[in-house]
């Protein structure tokens, strides 16, 4: 499903080059949940950005379903991302100017060009699934942080993507809410048989992972505590 072949990334501040990722190789299979653990600033988000095509690697290549995304143009990568990926960020997940239902339908509209009644029905069902039935007309600022993340999870899967990328999805939530959100994410991804790569600094999530990797000094190692 996702294959990283000796992927490197470095940032240039004009005077010096700062290597962030160094020749990472990883293969994630369809239906697998992979957790990338790492401290703040270790390059977790950079890795997710490279996989999603938001950023391009300085070296190596990234294959999605056998196709090298790193060779695609920005527009091709955007269209690929739109169709095949779902996102859950740490914060600022929802578009503040759209209602909950509109936020949910956004990926569908992007993929299909318009939304039909059936899409609205699906959105309502998904909202029910994440425990937010009846909140479809609310705006993001009328929801709590946990509720917003639940909407983000529903949005990440509404357009049936192949891959879900989650970047610190509980980083902005209290412990209890974080637990609930993770449970929901696990449940939804498993139920829909999706592939997910989650980047986090929190070891509490490793229970839901099929495999856990640690990102340290730009290198990816298999985490010893994964089982």
């Amino acid at each position: 499903m996702v294959e990283l072949q000796k992927v490197s990334k470095q940032y240039d501040d004009g005077t010096t080059k700062h290597p962030v990722l160094q020749e990472l190789s990883l293969k994630v299979n369809a239906g697998e949940i992979v957790v990338i653990l790492g401290k703040s600033g270790s390059g977790k988000s950079t890795l997710l950005n490279l996989i999603s095509g938001i950023d391009t690697p300085s070296g190596g290549s990234i294959l999605l379903d056998g196709e090298a995304v790193s060779n695609q143009t920005d527009r091709e990568r955007t269209l690929f991302r739109r169709r095949h990926m779902g996102f859950v960020f740490q914060f600022f997940n929802l578009v503040p100017t759209l209602t909950v239902q509109e936020n949910l339908l956004l990926p569908r509209e992007l993929v299909q060009g318009r939304v039909a009644e059936a899409d609205e029905h699906d959105a309502k069902q998904l909202l029910k699934g994440v425990g937010l039935e009846g909140r479809h007309d609310s705006y993001p600022d009328q929801l709590s942080g946990g509720e917003q993340q639940r909407v983000a999870i529903a949005r990440a899967i509404i357009h049936d993507p192949k891959l879900i990328l989650a970047d610190e999805p509980t980083g902005n939530l209290d412990y209890e809410t974080g637990e609930t959100v993770l449970r929901l994410l696990d449940e939804m991804v498993r139920k829909k048989q999706k592939t997910m790569i989650m980047a986090t600094h929190s070891r509490e999530v490793i229970g839901m992972a099929d495999r856990v990797f640690q990102l340290y000094q730009g290198k990816l190692t298999k985490d010893n505590l994964e089982l």
Binding site: I54, T78, V95, L105
Partner: protein, 845 residues
């Protein structure tokens, strides 16, 4: 430490600071530019009166410009009055150009006490005085003017006086002792009084006699004595009487220009308010943290005000420089209008004075600090916790919406009351307009919320979620978007108001010209179409034309001026046949009766005259005649748009009984029905070929009149454009602010699969919607402005009745300007947002 942090914030946001500085600068520049141009025109006028009056305290003038030079001799030789000097004064043209020279005919022997700048006339043996004695037909010019005309001593200078070309020999060049004297001497053509009389066709006549009378009891006695010695039709006036009356002529013109320039400053104030609010909003977290650390509310308040003061000061300095440059351009437009409509004026330089600079500083700094008060108060008032929340700011605005709207309605009410208050004061007109504009601007948030609610429902089906996002963004960023919309709406409303009032005026004038210009051919002394001419045509010209077989009728006109109740008014003596009378339409009075009264020795007056002096049909006006003061009954009030200073119309026969002025300034010719207008023009041109006269067909004169009309409003249109420019910067600044705020959101949208084009589409959709809302908002305000300008300001300024010409074209243009300006200012932010670094954007908090 706090100041350092504040300074670093400003340095870190150079574009934001630059836009605010530009907003203040443009507002200040427009006000200063207009002030400088008016001031420069005023100074040039003062210099011209200075050079004419010199040290004279009084002058002997004739009520009908028929002052015989024997009066001078009589006073000086017979009665021993020494401190008097004869003057012949007029404007002449350099042939083939519109450039004028100010002719002063003086007596070199009588001059010493009067005009010090002419001291060189008596200076040396080989100076101009001796030259005058040797060459009585010689002329003296200033060095600057001689250089400009490329003339040396002994060269011949050609000038056009009325319909004739005259030659004078240059016999002297005056260098001018200092800068002031050099300025005073510019464009001055000094002749011996007798040469001037001959050149100007004033043989045996003087323009006036200058007199110096000390301000003492002795002086009063002397003045009384001179008065007793003067024959009928002459009077002793203070020297400044006429110049004060002339200055009064342009006071309405000045007030209107200054008021329009203030509009740019008001729009600039919206921009400053927006910037300061944004700077507070952007640092709400930082302000919250500072408060949490123990920084007091008053310290926060001071910090924001000092920041605003720094921006205001910088903007003011840039604005003053810009105003100087702008003033240089505007002074030409202002001078041209004064020359077209009022009097001869030549402005050589932009006159800067401390008053204008102080006014610019006070306005720039004052407006900035005033507009920054609200955001500074907001920042200081919010609690540390609330300061951290972005939505609290917008929610606060929504909560205050009823109060803000109520204040808006109250201000509109107050403004309307002032406008409806019966008065002739122009100032009160603008004073009423200001609260209406501000009140209306305060209703913008309410209108925006309503519009967004309405449009959002309709737009979804048309352009999907992107469209809804674009529209909803406007409401969600109401604190900034509404200010930008208000600024744009006010600027566009001003465009609608000003354009409509100009087109109303234009339509009215065009319609008036239709019936006023009924003859086939018009002949006049060359020079300005609308103003009084320097010299008249003699009767021979008219009789030559009357004798032509193709000519059915000739209507003559002598236009001159009088001072009536301290104001300059035009006086027209007409010879007109019965059918020709159709060209006058009456506002008051029955036409038949009015013409009867005119024939029997009464007068007809124009609408501005009736308005300015509160005279109507049945009243009488008292005019100085050569036989003393006489009363003339007013037979009718006619529509007239050729002059805003008022016109008194008198039958030529009656005029000749009371005044001695001869000749005609213009006449119109009606051909027989079987003669084509072109044929008639040809015949007249052939007949008058040896004379320097302007011969124009009906169509030509009408076109020329409209050209002058349009030229008059160039300065207004420039101001209008500058106001829109300030608003455009306001919208741009607001959009850039919004862009900074939404960086993270846009990053997220890009991550979700929005293409660059879609992002710019959302942005441009938002700006387009802002422009549309501003345009829609501008329509009612524009209509109100047009009505006020046409029925209140115009009426109080000029006394004219105008018909409001409401055109759909102006409305479409206004919408086009609003949407176009918004889209234009949204283009750069849209491109920037579409091309933003998504990785960096996602990292932003």
């Amino acid at each position: 430490m706090l100041w350092r942090s504040s300074l670093r914030y400003l340095l870190k946001h150079p574009l934001q600071v630059a836009l605010s500085v530009l907003g203040v600068a443009l507002g200040v520049a427009v006000v200063v530019g207009i002030d400088l141009s008016i001031q420069s025109a005023g100074r040039a006028f003062e210099q011209s009166t200075d050079r004419v009056a010199g040290k004279a305290t009084h002058r002997v003038v004739s009520v009908d410009e028929g002052l015989n030079d024997s009066v001078y001799t009589h006073l000086r030789a017979r009665h021993g009055i020494r401190k008097i000097a004869p003057v012949v004064e007029q404007y002449v043209y350099i042939p083939g150009t519109e450039n004028q020279l100010h002719v002063m005919g003086v007596d070199p022997f009588a001059e010493p006490p009067f005009r010090p700048y002419l001291e060189q006339l008596q200076a040396a043996e080989d100076g101009p005085l001796s030259s005058f004695l040797m060459h009585p037909s010689g002329a003296v010019l200033s060095k600057g003017t001689a250089d400009e005309l490329d003339l040396k001593i002994s060269d011949t200078l050609q000038v056009r006086v009325g319909d004739q070309i005259q030659n004078v020999e240059l016999i002297g060049i005056l260098k001018g002792r200092d800068q002031y004297n050099r300025q005073v001497l510019e464009d001055l053509l000094i002749l011996d009084v007798s040469t001037a009389q001959e050149m100007l066709g004033m043989k045996g006549k003087l323009s006036y006699i200058d007199v110096i009378i000390p301000q003492s009891e002795m002086g009063t006695v002397k003045a009384d004595r001179i008065r007793s010695l003067l024959p009928g039709g002459l009077e002793l006036q203070r020297s400044n009487t006429r110049s004060a009356a002339i200055e009064k002529m342009i006071s309405a013109f000045k007030t209107n220009l200054q008021s329009l320039s203030f509009l740019a400053l008001i729009v600039g104030m919206f921009l400053i308010y927006n910037t300061m609010t944004f700077s507070v909003l952007q640092r709400r977290a930082q302000i919250g943290r500072l408060q949490a650390l123990g920084v007091t509310r008053s310290e926060i308040f001071r910090l924001i005000l000092v920041e605003a003061g720094a921006i205001g000061l910088l903007g003011t300095v840039v604005g003053l420089v810009g105003g100087y440059v702008l003033g240089g351009g505007l002074v030409e437009l202002v001078t041209r209008t004064i020359n077209d409509i009022y009097f001869n004026l030549s402005v050589r330089e932009v006159a800067v004075n401390a008053g204008i600079i102080l006014k610019g500083v006070a306005l720039g700094l004052g407006a900035t600090l005033l507009t920054a008060l609200i955001p500074a108060r907001e920042a200081a008032r919010s609690s540390p916790r609330v300061s951290l929340s972005r939505s609290s700011v917008e929610k606060g605005l929504l909560d205050r919406l009823p109060t803000i709207s109520a204040i808006g309605f109250i201000l509109i009410g107050v403004g309307s009351a002032i406008l409806l208050y019966p008065s002739n004061q122009i100032f009160l007109g603008y004073a009423g307009l200001l609260p209406v504009i501000i009140g209306y601007a305060l209703l913008t948030p309410l209108f925006v919320v309503g519009m967004v609610w309405f449009v959002r429902r309709g737009i979804g089906s048309v352009s999907g979620l992107s469209g809804r996002m674009a529209v909803q963004n406007i409401k969600d960023q109401l604190s900034r978007s509404s200010v930008a919309i208000a600024a744009l709406a006010v600027a566009v409303a001003a465009t609608i108001g000003v354009s409509t009032s100009i087109s109303s005026f234009r339509d009215t004038v065009e319609n008036w010209l239709q019936y006023r210009l009924q003859a086939d051919v018009f002949v006049s002394v060359p020079g300005n179409v609308s103003r009084r001419q320097a010299r008249t045509m003699d009767e021979e010209v008219v009789s030559d034309i009357k004798d032509l077989g193709e000519v059915k009728a000739v209507h003559t006109l002598l236009r001159t001026s009088r001072i009536y109740e301290g104001s300059v008014v035009d006086m027209e003596a007409i010879e007109i046949t019965l059918p020709g009378r159709d060209r006058y339409r009456f506002k008051e009075g029955d036409p038949k009766q009015a013409w009867n009264i005119l024939e029997k020795g009464g007068v007809l007056i124009s609408e501005p005259m009736a308005f300015d002096h509160e005279v109507t049909v049945g009243d009488s006006i008292n005019l100085e005649t050569r036989r003393g003061k006489r009363s003339f009954p007013v037979g009718g009030v006619f529509y007239d748009y050729s002059s805003d200073i008022g016109t008194i119309l008198m039958d030529r026969g009656i005029f000749n009984n009371h005044y001695r002025e001869q000749g005609y300034t213009s006449f119109s010719i009606v051909g027989h029905s079987n003669v084509e207008a072109e044929q008639l023009t040809d015949v007249v041109e052939r007949k008058l070929a040896n004379r320097q006269l302007s011969i124009r067909s009906n169509k030509e004169l009408r076109t020329l009149s409209m050209q002058i009309f349009d030229r008059t409003f160039t300065v207004t249109r420039v101001l209008q454009m500058l106001t829109v420019l300030v608003a455009l910067i306001g919208v741009f600044s607001a959009l850039m602010a919004i862009q900074l705020e939404r960086t993270r959101e846009i990053g997220m949208l890009r991550a979700l699969g929005f293409t660059r084009r879609q992002i710019s589409g959302v942005m441009l959709g938002q700006t387009g919607a802002m422009g549309t809302i501003a345009g829609l908002l501008a329509l009612p305000l524009g209509f109100v402005l047009a009505v006020v300008l046409v029925y209140v300001i115009n009426k109080r300024s000029f006394g004219w009745t105008l018909e409001l010409a409401w055109s759909y074209e102006v409305l479409w243009q206004a919408m086009g300007i609003a949407v176009g300006a918004a889209l234009l200012s949204g283009l750069y932010p849209a491109i920037k947002m579409a091309g933003m670094n998504v990785v960096r954007a996602l990292r932003e908090e």
